[in-house]
Amino acid sequence: MKYVLILLYILLPLFASAKTIEVCPTCPVSQIKVGIDLAEEGDLIIIKAGTYKEHDIKITKNNIRIKGEGRPVIDGEMVGTVFHFSGSNFTLSGLKIIHVGHSYTQDFAAVLVINAKHFEIDDMILEKVYFGFLVEKSKHGVIKNCIVSSKNKDEAGAGNGVHIWKSSDMLVTNNDLHGMRDGIYLEFVKRSKMTHNHSHGNIRYGLHFMFSNNDEYSNNTFENNGAGVAVMFSKYIKMSENTFLLNWGDSSYGLLLKEIYDAEIHDNEFIQNTIGINIEGSTRINYSNNNFRNNGWAVKVKGACYKNKFYKNNFLQNSFDISYKGQINSNEFKSNYWSEYTGYDLDKNNVGDIPYRPVKLFSYIVNETPETIVLLRSLFVDIINFSEKVTPVFTPDNLVDASPAMKPIPKRKPQ
């Protein structure tokens, strides 16, 4: 055995720069770590089916490609991080990583990437992990077609599915993330895209932005999380064609916007969330062509919001369409469709002739005194809502949709 290794070592440089190293339980190279050590820049390491009990596999060289065949299982034995990349231009695919160590002091991950550029992680299955993919100070990375899951119950002992910190130009696409703390967590991440991910059953958020600018997420589904998506302290975020579904619980919501500026939110579906969008201190946000269906509150505006524009959205069968705190502050509602609108359209231009007031009196009262929610769906509430609708006294006078649509706004073709 030893001679074979030595022989290989001597012979290797003789071949062309890229060579293939096979790792399998019965192969000469039966450990991944050994394979890595043997690899030169540009080499391909193929890991064959089998179970490998390894952790702290460090890859520092550039241009290393690691590929699993027959879905090999790497068992971290609950000790620490499993793969640790710090080189650039690597690819990783086809593996299943299980049992990543938990720690309250260190962020152990199935795959840790630090200071890497141009990497691609594809077709990975991560189970019972602490953090799934932990990416720090990296650029131009792709994470796609992965399934990350864990069975966490409480927030403190759980890690995030995809956790990216201080990075830019990342693409996270077509992944399935569940049972984590946050499905995807981004902090100080720029110019990145999250698309076609399915983030569900996570304890905290499906997707979580902190201090991240110029990012975009689209075509994702956020289902049944503690809360769907939280976007905080970020600028220039584009959110489109996502589905926020069943984020239902005492103070749950589909989308939380907190201290964000200049965002575009369009063509999303908000279905059966306690709160569709919860907005706090956000400015210059455009909401258009979204569908809000069967939510408790479709949109809850909690103050310090300026120049938010709601155009051409559909508000369908929500318990409350809008809850609004504070001044109108040049926020605008225009050309939306409201399923509770009862006005008429005499000139047949598909625009209602009388304005619609989306804030009901009861919604206003509940905002002032939350305990009054116990009167929800009582006859008295219906009566005061009706009288307020006829002659508004309490609800913000200028919070109106002056041109409500008579028919639901049709869904736009995917762009």
Binding site: D250, G296, P370, T372, I373, V374, L375, S378
Partner: protein, 260 residues
């Protein structure tokens, strides 16, 4: 008493109004299930209707039956029967026939739409149980009024006022109370206030069982803690029961001293 109950019940079950009431619920059940095609959606709409309609119909029917059968009651009074049995029998007869209309009227469409396969069966049962309670409560209350006022018009007027009070005015006063104390912790007050009115109590009991309870937020947590516990469940049904027993007791007391 059972004899009176039986014949009052026979009489009412054959009355046109019982049929109309029954058919109304039957149609409502089928239409809602047809529209929503979803038992849980239908449950919440039916809740709204039950909470308004059963007290109203119970009140009106109670008063109407009392005034309508006054002469017959006199005939019965001249027979060797205890007074209390006559009134108890009539009251239970009216309430039972109304409750049965509700029960069958809504039960039939839901069962045919596969209620037993649905997870909503408990919510639906709770809905029916509170509907039956409300019927008994409001028939008893209206019987009280009718016993107190020989003048039909007065009796009717007060009965409608009674319904209006519990269905609407109470909530208005309750809301004012909540708003005027909004600077204090008032979730206990909210809890007590909604327990004292049988309509509110029924509404809260049902809402807490439905998904929509998430809208209750923090207040809901207090409510859930209370109503979710067995003590809360037992005490709320005890309250509903008290709303049946106290007016019934007053019917007996009142009828004992009344001249016909």
């Amino acid at each position: 008493m059972l004899k009176i109950l039986k014949y009052s019940f026979y009489d009412l079950m054959r009355s046109r109004w019982s049929y109309i009431y029954f058919l109304f619920y039957l149609a409502l059940g089928f239409v809602l299930l047809f529209l929503f095609n979803d038992v849980s959606q239908a449950v919440i709409t039916i809740m709204n209707i039950i909470l308004v309609l059963t007290p109203l119909i119970g009140t009106i029917f109670g008063v109407m039956y009392y005034y309508d059968s006054r002469e017959f009651t006199e005939l019965l009074l001249s027979q060797p029967i205890k007074r209390r049995n006559i009134f108890l029998g009539q009251y239970i007869g009216v309430a039972t026939s109304l409750a049965l209309s509700l029960f069958l009227g809504l039960g039939i469409p839901f069962v045919t739409y596969g209620l037993f396969q649905s997870s909503e069966i408990w919510n639906f049962s709770l809905l029916l149980v509170t509907g039956v309670f409300l019927t008994f409560i409001f028939v008893a209350l209206s019987y009280n009024l009718a016993l107190s006022y020989d003048n039909k018009i007065k009796g009717f007027g007060f009965a409608i006022l009674l319904w209006l009070f519990f269905a609407v005015i109470y909530d208005g006063l309750f809301l004012i109370l909540l708003l005027s104390f909004s600077d204090y912790p008032i979730d206990k007050l909210a809890l007590i206030g909604s327990s004292l009115n049988p309509i509110d109590l029924s509404r809260v009991l049902i809402l807490l069982k439905l998904d929509i309870s998430a809208l209750f937020g923090y207040t809901g947590a207090v409510f859930k803690q209370f109503f979710g516990s067995s003590t809360g469940m037992i005490s709320s049904f005890a309250l509903l029961l008290a709303w049946v027993i106290l007016p019934t007791w007053r019917i007996l007391r009142k009828s004992k001293r009344k001249d016909f």
